[in-house]
Amino acid sequence: MENKTPLSPHIQIYKWHISSLVSISHRITGIINIIAITFICLFASLLVLGENSYEMAYLFLNSMFGKFLILGLTWSFLFQVLSEIRHLIMDLGYGFEIKTTRITGLMVIFGSVVLTIIFYLIGKSFI
């Protein structure tokens, strides 16, 4: 009888809010960033391997998918940075009121998007 006892629904029914969304995105972008760093290392080693491999990387990163990837990773890094700053402030014991967490959470979400656009524009004017 005992092992038949069901477990009540949890993540399936619980309502999301800004802080929980930022928290889960922080984890997901963290994993993405680790994979991204591996790819950046691969890219760097391609540069060392000579003209042909550089050409390959160049073509890939200038394709639509490559550009999408770069922008995505830029966002992912920026999100991580902003969210980490939010965590640092929280570790000091500030910003735990519901209203404040909502504001800082929104700042992280929108800030990361705005910074991504700024980075994109800066990068574009360099190239």
């Binding site: 009888m1 038949k4 006892t5 069901p6 477990l7 009540s8 629904p9 949890h10 993540i11 399936q12 029914i13 619980y14 309502k15 809010h17 802080s19 929980s20 928290s23 889960i24 965590h87 929280m90 570790d91 000091l92 014991g93 735990f96 009121e97 519901i98 967490t101």
Partner: protein, 259 residues
């Protein structure tokens, strides 16, 4: 361990539909999680049409109405009906709270009522809180004084007393702990917001003499540091307390104290 899906015996099926018999025009659909231990079937969602013209303002009033007028087999905990005892903690409209203090007008659309998340269900809306109470016991929630011969009152200044504000009001309804994803995945080891708020309450009590050993006790990767400031706890607390901040304060104390 993180397990997103429910085990097979916990998958929720569609249940009965109780059509309104009063002929009222002002109806609301209420979906309630049901599980009967004597039948041995999977849990189900029963839907009730409730006449809102003759129903007071809180979710608990809806449950009472259903139990009294529609379906007497419905089981749920309730006692004081004034947000003091913490018995009627449940998940309403996707958020934990006390049924007696949550107005049903705050929930849009159909009203979904589930037991507190990620608990062993005893019956219908009643979850098993034994684990949480054991953890509560483990932090030894009582005043500890080393002087055995002390018979006089232990004085506490107004300032020191004020430190307990926001911590002593907790009614242990478990809304916060059962809203916490970290507690869902590691509830056997992680103490959870409710118990950590109480741990904090005894750590900062100026009359308590076991501060150091209390701190040492919670300073554990799994007991304390599983808090990732998701803040479901603070947004769920029906008493407006802030367990997440209390946990952050404990972390801070541990970072600055020499233990």
């Amino acid at each position: 361990m993180v397990q997103i899906n429910l085990p097979d015996n916990s998958k929720v099926k569609k249940g009965k539909y109780f059509k309104d018999k009063t002929g009222s025009k002002n109806l609301r659909k209420v979906n309630i999680y049901r599980w009967d231990p004597s039948v041995g079937e999977n849990p189900r969602i029963d839907t009730y049409e409730v006449d809102m013209d003759n129903c007071p303002s809180k979710v608990l009033d809806i449950l009472n109405k259903i139990k009294n007028e529609i379906d007497p087999t419905l089981a749920y905990r309730r006692s004081c009906a004034h947000g003091v005892c913490g018995s009627c903690a449940m998940n309403m409209g996707g958020k934990n709270g006390l049924a007696c203090t949550t107005p049903h007008s705050e929930i849009n659309g159909d009203i979904d009522i589930y037991p507190l998340p990620h608990l062993k269900v005893k019956k219908d809306l009643i979850g098993d809180l034994d684990g949480l109470y054991k953890q509560y016991q483990s932090i030894e929630p009582w005043l500890k004084s080393n002087s055995k011969s002390e018979t006089k009152e232990i004085f506490q200044s107004k300032e020191d007393r004020a430190k307990l504000d926001g911590a002593y009001e907790c009614i242990m309804c478990a809304c916060c702990s059962t809203s916490c994803p970290s507690y869902w995945w590691n509830g056997d080891k992680y103490l959870g917001p409710a118990v950590l708020l109480q741990a904090y309450r005894w750590i900062i009590d100026s009359r308590d003499e076991e501060r150091q050993s209390r701190l040492k006790k919670v300073a554990d990767e799994l007991k304390l540091y599983r808090c990732h400031t998701i803040l479901n706890c603070t947004s769920a607390c029906p008493k407006g307390l802030n367990p997440a901040k209390a946990i952050a304060e404990i972390k801070k104390m541990l970072a600055t104290a020499n233990i």
